[in-house]
Amino acid sequence: MEVKLKIFRFDSKGDKEPHYDTFIVEAKPTERVLDCLNRIRWEQDASLAYRMSCAHGICGSDGMTISGTSALACQKLVKDYDYSKEILIEPLRFFPIIKDLVVDMTPFFSREKSVHPEGRIALTPTDEGREHLQSIRERAQFDDDIKCIMCACCVSACPVNLKEDPSYVGPAAILRAHRYIFDSRTQDPLERMRIMDKPHGIWECKTYFKCTEVCPKGIRVTDRILEAKRKILGELHLVK
């Protein structure tokens, strides 16, 4: 079957304006969008730039905007889209575009790093040679968080990041902070709550639920953000 893909093209070293190229590839409806892109790069146009590695939704390399929505190209199949027309492939939104579908991920990883207090990740001290004890229930508190693969789909779909406050720390970093705030082993969860409590921090979230809608790992990101907000409100703001 022939599938038509309309792909965003732009080279920040040279092009003034982006344009779109259309490619037709042979693909089955059950094949991955990534398979189509690979066929294009390997057989038709070697200049097409996009990142990919594991090809099964684990490494987080191939986040892009597919027919208007942030997604991983290796996790979406041709049949997930109306392939009788064309599948529109664009880079992740929000991030500076370097070439075609390759974006500058620096703004993403600097946000991830910003949730750690000055150079350390401290857990409560415990006996040498023994693990911390943590109940199944305590561990479950942050089970959603550790599914994150840092693909940046959530940030690129977040209306706050996109329109309201470009400096907003964004859903993925809040999820990272949630992971430590809700881990019973964290030495001082208040430190991370204070980081989240700053301007452009957690209070910028307006619960649009876009992060949750697009998350390729099915993480209930908005729920976790709300949990963190409640915790921060209780610990830092409400008079006890």
């Binding site: 080279d11 059950t30 390997w42 990142r51 490494c59 004890l133 089970d143 599914k147």
Partner: protein, 574 residues
């Protein structure tokens, strides 16, 4: 550009980052990765990490060591397996203290589950030894160590492809890397270099490995005159999703999953009466293919079913949510209701760059270290996996030997001065890239790659024999010649993935030749290396490691003895 560090580590998976974290306590470390560091394939490890913590039932490191030796069909160096099994519990506790979110049991301790080939009391019955975090164990370990590297100031170079090792007076002193973003060469000048680049599964048509697993690290060492050890031992994991090769963790069988043939029979009962579906991977992969060859594949076709329907929806969601989502995404199957079609998929290289117990690369393959050069993880061969690796033993290998390498690197850089760079290091490397960009040959990369993957899968995977291996060797040599005549259709500088593909394909072809060459010479069946024409293990002639050297006259083979300490080789039955 030339940058200086005490040490540079190639590869940002768990072995590389563990070494970086350790070495960075006392020296200045850079990590280079051809993908974004957090994309490394250690993150895809699913089921668990072995350690005799004994949180669920009595366990001892000696039992773990025995299982590792027997699992490796006695080709394991037992002094190294002893280190692995003894140090595993410490490493797990250390990970927990770093913040790795292991799943917990009702006592609040790290939960452990069963895994293939891990047994109690030297083979009696399966044992719960695999520590885990649902089915994303590798991901959470890698992310945690990555976070620690970031806060400790390890410099990470993302998307830098290690093109060659820099060597002055037989000492390794850095890496020349091709920067994908700029198309320029970066010279990382350092007293010590560590290779931690993972496997090369992309040589085979069906693999669970990422596109990045093209064996670049093996090739860097091989080109520097180091032999490759035991490369004929390639693990095919029994349960890859049919056609795609995407891994369905052994944890699925640990949780109660059963392999069934076309009549619904649990056929592993016939092949491994004691461990059944939790037998080691080599044995199950062969059993699946024997069933298929006997016409007992599903619908007489080329796959069997992995039946998880007895596990229950809730347990699946709790312990195996990743693989449940793979089945749903790629097959439209809910594994609590319908079986998953599976077939063997290339999963792991037992062989690799010979190293000693502290990660030093052995330039003669035997005793003599290559000054300044280290390796750990899948690209190294220490050898703890022998002829077949047990599930959950790779993550522990990365931690135990990655850490040991990191420690020794820190010591080495204190005691040694920085060798000068080879003359014109930068110019030489740039010239090579320019040469590649101007290649105008008629051969296409994708075609040669497809043919390589096909012949390796057909002739050099689970079942092998002399005639097929000879055909494969000829074919690979023909493809190598054709690669010399490859042309690039794009010569832009920024994000030229075609150039990267060409470099990777060159590496893959050389490694394919070493694998076939080694397999052809080993006239016995042991672990993952099965010869239809020599179906028995032959300890008298073949209880030895293969070493393949690159010489001007072509590949040369030699052998070295296996270290046997506690466990004399015995027949391997499960």
């Amino acid at each position: 550009m030339i940058q200086q560090y005490d040490a540079v580590i190639v590869g940002a998976g768990i072995a590389g980052l563990t070494a970086a974290m350790k070495a960075s306590e006392s020296c200045n470390v850079a990590v280079v990765s051809k993908v974004y560091a957090s994309r490394s394939h250690s993150g895809a490890a699913q089921g668990g990490i072995a350690a005799s913590l004994g949180n669920e039932e009595e366990d001892h490191w000696e039992w773990h060591m025995f299982d590792t030796v027997k699992g490796g069909d006695y080709l394991v160096d037992q002094d190294m397996a002893e280190i692995l099994a003894r140090e595993a519990p410490e490493r797990i506790i250390e990970l927990e203290h770093l913040g790795v979110p292991f799943s917990r049991n009702k006592d609040g301790k790290i939960e452990q589950r069963r895994f293939g080939g891990h047994t109690k009391n030297f083979g009696e019955a399966p044992i719960k030894r695999a520590c885990y975090a649902s089915d994303r164990t590798g991901r959470v370990i890698m992310d945690t160590i990555f976070d620690h590297c970031l806060v400790r100031g390890v410099k990470i170079y993302d998307e830098l492809f290690a093109k060659s090792l820099l060597i002055t007076n037989k000492k390794c002193c850095g890496v020349a890397g091709y920067d994908l973003a700029t198309g320029e060469m970066e010279i990382i000048h350092a007293k010590a270099v560590m290779l931690a680049t993972g496997g090369c599964g992309r040589i085979f048509k069906t693999t669970s490995m990422s596109f990045a697993a093209t064996g670049d690290g093996f090739q860097l060492a091989f080109d520097a005159g180091v032999p490759l050890e035991d490369m004929e031992f390639v693990q095919f994991h029994p349960t890859g999703i049919r056609g795609l090769g995407i891994l369905i963790s052994e944890a699925a069988r640990a949780e109660g999953g059963i392999l069934r043939n076309n009549s619904g029979e649990q056929f592993m009962e016939r092949y491994a009466p004691t461990l059944k579906d939790l037998a080691p991977r080599d044995i199950i992969s062969r059993a699946i293919l024997v069933e298929i060859q006997a016409g007992r594949g599903i619908d007489g076709s080329d796959y069997v079913n992995l039946d998880l329907t007895s596990i229950g929806k809730k347990q699946l969601q709790l312990e195996l949510s990743e693989i449940a989502s793979f089945a749903k995404t790629y097959l439209g199957i809910d594994p609590s209701e319908a079986p998953i079609p599976v077939a063997p998929t290339c999963h792991y290289m037992m062989g690799g760059i010979p190293t000693d117990a502290v990660g030093r690369v052995l330039v003669d393959g035997n005793k003599k270290p290559f000054p300044g050069l280290y390796a750990a993880g899948e690209c190294a061969c220490v050898s703890v996996h022998g002829a077949n690796r047990l599930g959950t033993n790779s993550l522990v290998d990365l931690l135990v030997f990655g850490r040991r390498a990191g420690e020794d690197i820190a010591k080495y850089v204190k005691e040694n001065s920085l060798p000068p760079l080879p003359q014109d290091a930068e110019a030489t490397a740039s010239k090579e890239i320019s040469r590649l960009l101007e290649l105008t040959g008629k051969e296409r990369i994708a075609t040669i790659r497809d043919e390589t993957q096909k012949v390796m899968m057909d002739k050099c995977s689970v079942f092998r024999e002399k005639k097929g291996l000879e055909q494969a060797l000829n074919k690979i040599r023909e493809l190598k010649n054709r690669w010399e005549n490859v042309g690039l259709t794009y010569n832009g500088k920024s994000y030229n993935y075609e150039l990267e593909d060409a470099l990777e394909l060159g590496n893959m072809l050389k490694l394919a030749e070493v694998i076939v060459f080694s397999a052809l010479r080993r006239e016995e069946s042991r672990g993952a290396h099965y010869r239809n024409d020599f179906t028995e293990r032959n300890d008298e002639n073949w209880l030895k490691h293969t070493l393949v050297f690159q010489t001007p006259e072509g590949l040369q083979v030699s052998y070295k003895p296996v270290t046997v300490t506690r466990f004399e080789p015995k027949a391997r039955k499960y």
